[in-house]
Amino acid sequence: MGSIKDKVAIIGMGCSQFGERWDAGMSDLAIEASSEAFKDAGVGIEDIEACFFSTVYAPMGGTGSSAAADALKLRDIPIIRNENWCTSGHIALFEACMAVASGMYDVVMALGVEKLKDTGYPGLGMGRGMNPVLEARRTAPGSFALIAKRYFDTYGLTNEQGKELIGRIAVKNHDNGSRTPKAHFHNKVTLDKVLSAPVIAWPLGLFDCCGNSDGAACAIVTRADMAKNFRDDPIYLKGVGVAMDSTMPHLRPNFDWIHFGALMNSSRKAYEMAGITNPREELDLAEVHDCFTITELAIYENFGFSKPGGAIEDIRSGFFEIGGGLPVNIDGGLKCFGHPIGASGLRMTYEIYKQLQQKVDNPERQVKNPRLGLSHTFGGPPQISAVAILGNEKG
């Protein structure tokens, strides 16, 4: 496999306010995120040669890329929509980077938008897939919660110890979110409050689950050798890794619901491209897919941030907290932004981009002199994982 390390740079990004955006439709969210990105990059819509667009649910399937074209009045260029579960935003970024690296385009945009709060339902609905019965009554919390009991049992945690452990991740991310103006939730929570919250899908309680929110994010991507024509502090793509797996990895006899091939392979590919051999030491921060607290825990170990079983001690010692060895989800993560599916990958990348430029919107959460950051989404039942590693220096 080849490499596009340092061949592509992000020269502008935008991110809408996340939350229950009763005031904003899909078009408004797209305009909000892309306007900021255009301004940040110093380009206009007329400079965009192709658009890579991610949205999952809204509008419903069968509408192609129309929503992006109609919202931004994009015309005469290709708009390529992808729908890849929770990783869609990252896949849009991945496509944009490959398009530029191929030499076909000089300036393209990746746009992720999701309008979840127009359905009249608080949740995402029930069931999955094309089969009338096989995945009936599947829900996201019910699916990801399957990791928890296996993890607890494998590493000798009682249910109470396990719940407390993942509860600490909720406390951390809520603490982080309190310093992030664009997040949906800004409330800090105590461990007691997390542990006494209503159960959603045992062992996951309310604060173990991310919210349903509206949001959009956008990136303007160009060739690395052109990047400084646009700004002094472009952010370079160091590595990408995407790995898809069957929706039924449990068909493999040794699948244990703790180790996920998609997570391990996507991170390995991204590390290899970026030249990272020890992510725990070399990364300065990471935004990972905390759709549920147990997911974030599994990612620590599948990504090599912690050794197998080592997440327990790392969580307890505050290794992933702000000021810790490797701050994770320093903006509050999906826990505080909610998860407008098609937008999340780009929103997480936005935080890494701003951190690496040392331009986050609240200095209280700025990491000191970061060089390398990772963003990541993990979607499906779970099944597909996408990783982007960014750096603020070439080489």
């Binding site: 995402l124 019965v133 959603i200 899908a201 068909l251």
Partner: protein, 468 residues
């Protein structure tokens, strides 16, 4: 002479104390409890559960016919017997037939099977019943839901069929028109006296006379009755006695299960059968029928006894949920389904979805469910044999108790991954469980349930349940 090889009953996991039903109406209540079909059970699934138990015990060989009897079949037009034969993974080269309308149809199906199975083949008789009584009526407390199945064959059956006597009788005593939701009935004294007692007695006396037997020659008399008073009355009227021949009417702990009731009682009696016993089996409904059997040897018993089933039940105390399970009130809808109903998909994938078959890779041995054309382990293409998972032992590999996924009236879904005995994993829903009792390693079995009614038809699939 034809006879019975095996019989099994399915008593739903849920029960309701009659005082909870009476209490909801602030009226008197009868003693005991009634069985209540779960929110995912109907007459077909209850029959399937019993029939599966029967076949697991006695084997699937030589089953050439399947007769399904119910007054509450899930479809007015579309046979349940064909669905049952499929979910039981029987060969398609067989006779399938639905019998209905009469409360006697369960016994009629058995009689028909005994008459037609004499050529060495076997016939499976299955029945399930879930009748709706008017809210607040006595019948609401008296009725029960259950399924039963009897495997009949020619040759040396352990329970030999000796003869039968039938009476046809026209009377409008208990009925439902095509439009009725609830069972209707005429004045009680007329219904009992001129209907049930007179005609059932005529059939029983006719049989005894035809066989040259006296009441005391009978060891066990299985005479389903719609209520305890009629159960006593029919003994008195036929010269049978409570101490001598009567068996548990199953009214106190289960309730009257309509067409399935004689077969449920038969399954209970056969669990205790002793060689040499003569068993009389009768049923009433638009006439009556009485059959005589002699136990030659112990019949094949299902793995889980009726006593175990009665012991391992869970009480629901909410009358509102009882009404909702029966479709009589409409609770606030939950989140919408994002599923695509398709009769085509159900048909095309029937081997997995209905026959409950998974694949076993012939190259590397990996077992999977549903059937996979490409092995997820070694990626060999189209090199597999199919293996039935229903009836196979399994245990919980991991689970979550999902409070978002359920029906509004049955809100907790245990999302479960089951490690099957052959290495396959079943990833689905658990039913019939106290969700707090589930642990890793808990033994489970698969069971057919009605999942939902998308597309305007009943979508059946498999769930797992605790071993009772």
């Amino acid at each position: 002479m034809a006879g019975i090889f095996s019989a099994a009953a399915h008593i739903p996991y849920l029960k309701m104390e009659r005082k909870a039903i009476g209490g909801a109406w602030e009226r008197g209540s009868l003693a005991g409890c009634r069985s209540v079909a779960g929110s995912d059970e109907d007459s077909l699934t209850m029959a399937a559960e019993a029939a599966g138990a029967c076949l697991e015990a006695a084997g699937r060989e030589a089953v050439r016919g399947l007769y399904f009897a119910s007054t509450t079949a899930p479809y007015k037009e579309k046979a349940s017997a064909a669905m049952l034969a499929t979910v039981l993974d029987l060969d398609s080269a067989m006779e399938t037939l639905d019998l209905g309308n009469s409360l006697r149809s369960g016994l009629s199906a058995l009689k028909l099977a005994l008459d037609t199975a004499a050529d060495g083949g076997k016939v499976l008789v299955a029945s399930g019943e879930k009748r709706l009584a008017y809210p607040r009526s006595d019948q609401e407390q008296l009725f029960g839901d259950a399924g039963a199945a009897v495997l009949v064959g020619g040759g040396d059956a352990p329970v030999a069929y000796l003869g039968g006597y039938a009476v046809s009788d026209e009377i409008t005593d208990v009925w439902r028109t095509q439009e009725d939701t609830y069972v209707q009935s005429w004045e009680g004294r007329f219904v009992t006296g001129e209907g049930y007692l007179r005609v059932t007695a005529q059939a029983i006396k006719g049989l005894l006379s035809q066989m040259g037997l006296k009441p005391e020659d009978i060891n066990k008399a299985i005479i389903p009755a719609p209520d305890p008073r009629s159960a006593m009355g029919i003994l008195k009227k036929t010269g049978l006695t409570e101490a001598g021949q009567a068996v548990d009417s199953m009214l106190e702990q289960v309730g009257f299960c309509g067409a399935a009731h004689p077969l449920v009682m038969l399954a209970a009696v056969l669990e205790q059968a002793q060689p040499g016993e003569k068993i009389l089996l009768a049923a009433y409904g638009d006439g009556a029928q009485a059959l005589l059997f002699e136990v030659k040897a112990q019949p094949v018993l299902p793995a889980v006894s009726l006593a175990q089933q009665l012991e391992n039940r869970r009480a629901i105390n909410s009358y509102a949920r009882f009404l909702s399970f029966n479709g009589l009130v409409e609770p606030q809808p939950g989140e919408p389904f994002r599923l695509v109903p398709s009769a085509t998909v159900t048909w095309r994938e029937r081997d997995s979805l209905l026959r409950c078959r998974g694949s076993k890779c012939q190259a590397c041995g990996t077992a999977a469910f549903p059937i996979q054309r490409i092995c997820d382990n070694c990626r060999s293409v189209d090199q597999f044999e199919t293996v039935r998972l229903s009836g196979m032992a399994g245990e919980v590999f991991t689970f979550s108790r999902d409070n978002l996924a359920g029906r509004p009236d049955d809100p907790v879904v245990v999302q479960t991954v089951v490690q099957m005995e052959n290495g396959a994993r079943f990833y689905g829903l658990m039913t019939d469980a106290d969700p707090t009792q589930v642990e890793l390693g808990t033994p489970v079995r698969l069971t057919l349930r009605r999942m939902h009614d998308l597309g305007g038809f009943h979508n059946y699939f498999w769930k797992c349940r605790l071993v009772r």
